[in-house]
């Protein structure tokens, strides 16, 4: 199973904006590691959730031809914690999309209320200036990611 930290997309506007949600459950093992006496969904996994929401948005903008890799967490500010029973909403927007990279701006909501901001940069790694070669197969966008976004892309331009 792949490391997926969003449950589903609610909105997907190709090249512009995506919204995904995650429901945090006490049945998930990781919440008990952080911490046993007071289980929470850690901020690092919410950064990963935003990276997946925004990364799929960036990848789809070039029809999943590019290998999109998280290159920089430009901002990650959290004003609150998330515990089992909470729903996290990831709202991502593309700020800049260029041949070699993209930057995104993101807001996270806890049960509908904004509580965190995560801005990211992604690299299109085949376009790197040092000329390093990567495998031809797109190892970033495999079946699971595509299935996640497929229902929202039916009938959409892109």
């Amino acid at each position: 199973m792949r490391w997926i930290w969003i449950d589903k997309f609610l909105e997907f506007v190709p090249g512009k904006r995506a919204v995904a949600i995650k429901n945090v459950s006490l049945a998930e093992e990781h919440v008990h590691d952080c911490w046993e006496a007071f289980p929470t969904h850690p901020a690092c996994l919410m950064i990963e959730g935003m990276a997946q929401t925004a990364g799929i948005l960036v990848g789809q903008a070039r029809n999943f031809r590019e290998k999109v890799i998280l290159a920089k967490v430009a901002r990650a500010e959290f004003d609150d914690i998330v515990v089992p029973g909470d729903q996290v909403t990831f709202q991502a927007e593309i700020e800049t999309l260029a041949d070699e990279a993209a930057s995104t701006r993101g807001t996270l909501l806890k049960n509908g209320k904004p509580f965190a901001r995560v801005d990211l940069m992604f690299s299109h790694i085949d376009q790197n200036l040092s000329g390093v070669k990567f495998p031809e197969e797109n190892f970033v966008f495999t079946g699971q990611f595509e299935r996640l976004v497929a229902p929202l892309l039916e009938g959409a331009d892109g």
């Binding site: 290159a71 700020e95 800049t96 260029a98 070699e100 990279a101 930057s103 000329g131």
Partner: protein, 128 residues
């Protein structure tokens, strides 16, 4: 009306504070991006994206921070820029101050050309 040098500097400073997570007082005209402000390769692209937005300008890739110099054997020999390499770099970076670097054009010292003032000089040519 063209922006004054101070206005450009203040906006560049704001951009670098956001892009590199540094304190405002660290961003002086003479501060180098990598040595003093800790910029890494992806940060250079981030800075370009942010400058484009902040000043509503278009920065063609390789214009502010030139590429394809170091991997050309005509331009670099034994870890130093050749005469033609230095000439090429000067042509492509009229916004940089070469007075120190040209005394000893060691490629490891090239990062010293990328100062806050280098960005200010470049942006001034774009917003003039």
């Amino acid at each position: 009306m063209p922006m004054s040098e101070t206005d450009v500097f203040e906006k560049v400073k704001e951009t670098l504070v956001d892009a590199l997570g540094v304190d405002e007082d660290e961003v002086t005209p003479e501060a180098t991006l990598t040595g003093d402000l800790g910029a890494e390769s992806i940060d250079f692209l981030d800075i370009v994206f942010r400058l484009e937005k902040a000043f509503s300008i278009k920065i063609p890739r390789g214009e502010l921070f030139p590429d394809n110099i170091l991997n050309n054997p005509d331009f670099v020999q034994n870890g130093r820029l050749t005469e033609s390499g230095l000439k090429q770099l000067k042509e492509r970076m009229p916004h940089a101050d070469f007075s120190e670097f040209e005394k000893d054009p060691d490629v490891n010292k090239m990062a010293e050309l990328f100062k806050v003032q280098t960005i200010v000089n470049y942006v001034k040519t774009k917003v003039a």
